[in-house]
């Protein structure tokens, strides 16, 4: 499993760097797609078909929306950066990277083995999910019955984000500039 994962992860980091640094927004979006599609393959390797389906579909649609938006507006990245700003950004990034690596090394011995969750509830879900909910697909049983609060929150977040997009980009009641 690992020999497949490591090249994909390196490819994802490379795609993220290109997406950040490219001055052409269209190529930035295309390299953003590298991350999503590599993540799809990783989900397939890790045997999570539900996530892989959602990831590949949402990635395609998001790319289409972003490309359509870029083609209608501007392809050029207009971010300005001067000396002080660059220094602040680089310094903050370095400090946070150092803190994260330090803390991650500290908690690494206590992490469960990869692919073996130690949660007590996970075993209960796996054993009695079918009898308690009647759903054959255990993922659906978990996200819509045991953990339905989470799904309700996600649906509400999506609703709120769409409300925000529609409100910010509205055509009614805008001030003419």
């Amino acid at each position: 499993m690992l020999p497949f994962l490591v090249p994909l992860l390196i490819l994802m980091i490379f795609g993220a760097l290109v997406a950040l640094e490219s001055r052409d927004l269209l190529s930035g979006i295309i390299s953003l797609g590298i991350i999503g599609f590599a993540l799809t393959i990783i989900f397939l390797i890790l045997q999570a078909p539900d996530l892989a389906i959602v990831q590949i579909i949402i990635e395609t649609l998001t790319l289409v929306i972003l490309i359509a938006a870029v083609l209608r507006t501007s392809r050029e990245d207009c971010t300005e950066s001067w000396g002080m700003r660059k220094a602040v950004v680089a310094g903050t990034g370095l400090i946070f990277t150092a803190v994260f690596i330090w803390k991650f090394i500290a908690i690494l011995p206590y992490m469960p083995v990869f692919g073996e969750p130690q949660l007590r509830m996970a075993r209960v879900y796996l054993d009695s999910g079918l009898t308690m909910t009647g759903a054959v697909n255990l993922v659906a049983a978990v996200i819509l019955d045991f953990r339905a609060y989470d799904t309700l929150g996600e649906a509400t977040v999506l609703f709120t984000s769409v409300a925000g997009v529609v409100a910010v980009l509205r055509t009614v009641g805008r001030k003419r500039s």
Partner: protein, 147 residues
């Protein structure tokens, strides 16, 4: 955005119903096979987006379409919240699967698992309408354009 060539339009006309039906299948069989409301909703939104991209956005630029997408999104999340408090109406906990108790069904059948397929349906409606509304707003509507 203008429409594309005749080849693209014909292929889109052939493909779009199948993608739409696949979306409905994924939503309805969410409790049996991988997938569910979210994946199916995005498929349905994708099929409509494909149609708009191929045939141009002149038809889609009317504000009634955006309004309708917002309406269906609200209806979807309203159904989901209603299903969530259905358990409390029956004096149970929040999100209690009361339909499963009333009508158990046999596992593996389409009509089973009580509330889960209904929740999938609500999420599917919401996600399809939400992503289509985002597409309409970001890619089709011109800001500052008089409606």
């Amino acid at each position: 955005m203008n429409g594309m060539t005749l080849i693209v339009k014909r292929i889109t006309q052939l493909m779009m119903p199948s993608i739409f039906m696949l979306g409905i299948y994924v939503i309805v069989h969410g409790h049996l096979t991988p997938g569910g409301g979210f994946a199916g909703g995005v498929l349905i939104a994708g099929s409509v987006v494909l149609m708009v991209l191929a045939f141009g956005s002149e038809e889609a630029r009317s504000s009634a379409l955006k309004w309708r997408a917002s309406l269906w999104e609200s209806i979807g999340i309203f159904i989901f919240w209603f299903l969530a408090i259905l358990g409390m109406i029956q004096k149970g906990p929040f999100f209690a699967n009361v339909i499963q108790k009333l009508y158990p069904g046999s596992p593996g059948q389409l009509f089973s698992a009580g509330m889960i397929p209904l929740c999938n349906l609500a999420i599917g409606i919401e996600v399809a309408a939400a992503l289509f509304a985002i597409f309409i707003t970001l890619a089709v509507m011109k800001t500052g354009e008089k409606q």
